[in-house]
Amino acid sequence: MSGKYKQVAYYPGCALEGTGHAYNRSTKELGKALGLDVVELENWNCCGAMEVKNVDPKLQTYLSARNLSIAEGMGFDTVMAPCNGCYHNLKKAEYDLANDPASREVTERLSRKAGHKTYEAGKVETIHALDWIKGAVGEEGLKARVKNSLKGLKVANYYGCMYTRPRHIFPEKDKGPGSESTSKPHFMDDLLAAAGAENVDYPLKTACCGGAHTLSDSDTSTKLVLNLLTTAEACGADVIATECPTCHTGLEMHQVRAEKVFGRKTTVKILYFTQLLGMALGLSARKVGVHENFSDSSDLLRARRLG
């Protein structure tokens, strides 16, 4: 273990307290199994995802900055956000506060009004759960701890569109070997391969899942998800591994809807990467929240003797 990210501030965000609870549970259990500490931010607030950002982007910057300020106040220099939306917004706030005087001015004013210290760019690093495991344990560390290899399990790694976009808010990516790529992300592939999984070459790993569209135009979302699912199956995948609660829920719900509305049944399973890694480390399916998923993967897990 590198020691890097051994203890990090944890920002679960709203989704992980609701539909993405299995991700919350499996992230914490995975950390525990790996000897890593996560300390949840005290009195955290919404990152401003979608709703606030669509009304007032600078207010969203403030909301995310407040979470970063809390992390700093708790003595942390790193905050880990497993949700792509939260991760994206905290990174965006960091970028805006470093580069946009108007965003700084609004954040200062609202922080004063709310009675807390104004967050200044550069004090806290925001990382994703993938960065956390990769940085703290790495592939070799994972390999050494695997008790129940994912060998033979064919996985399509799906990152969604917000993990790498827009590129300018992720200055640490695209730095050559060892860094994450914005055009062809691989951290999840690397970690699952270390646990024995066979990653398939999935051409839609960063394609849109239609998540934000799901209420206004459900049919388009269902068709986008159906294409993600059928393409994963065409690639030979047993499982789609996810790392975002919005994408994950979208894939699960629209898999059901695709069958109901369009009569198109797909059988590929959908699991969080933290659930797969947790089971590879010997944790039970229940411990990593497989029972909280909408998608039923019990037959596959039984057949593979996982969890």
Binding site: A49, L59, H88, A212, H213, D217
Partner: protein, 158 residues
């Protein structure tokens, strides 16, 4: 049978892609290089539909040797959410290259089929964007919804 992609609507494109995806391996393998070219052209047509709907003059330029990538860049100008299809376009180019470089590869039919599925994602994404163009943007990292209809309350009043 090759198709004149320049006169196609998005629905036509979708039908053609479904045909490619459902075609038997032998049919795909026999015409692999031509079909790869057609896939790329279908991708360009999809982006042209979007640009034309926005009243833009279509670029004839290329990026990294591909007009598809130049059209994507044009479509993304001033519209960050459009970048959600950036890698989809690049994957389409990658599958084109795969097939054109190894037209006799044992896996060529599967490569073409996957390329068609990638193109289908592009078609669905652009179709979705067109569908809601009057309501706002498509993606959650987008500009404010209905910005032109009801300006947000200034932060000063928060």
């Amino acid at each position: 049978m090759m198709t004149d992609v320049r006169t196609m609507s998005l629905d036509d494109v979708a039908s053609r892609l479904e045909g490619m995806i459902a075609a038997p391996d032998a049919a795909l393998a026999t015409a692999a290089p031509d079909l790869a070219g057609e896939l790329l052209a279908l991708g360009e047509t999809i982006l042209e539909v979007w640009l034309a709907a926005r009243g833009e003059r279509l670029t004839a330029r290329t990026v990294e040797g591909f007009r598809l990538l130049a059209l994507h860049r044009q479509g993304a100008r001033g519209d960050p959410s459009f970048n959600a299809c950036r890698e989809t376009c690049r994957e389409l180019v990658y599958h084109y290259n795969l097939v054109r470089l190894e037209p006799a590869h044992a896996d060529v039919a599967r490569r073409l089929r996957l390329g068609a599925m990638v193109a289908r994602h592009l078609q669905l994404f652009i179709g979705g964007k067109l569908e809601v163009a009057g309501l706002g943007e498509f993606c959650c990292s987008s500009r404010p919804l209905r910005q032109h209809e009801a300006p947000a309350q200034p932060v000063a009043n928060v």
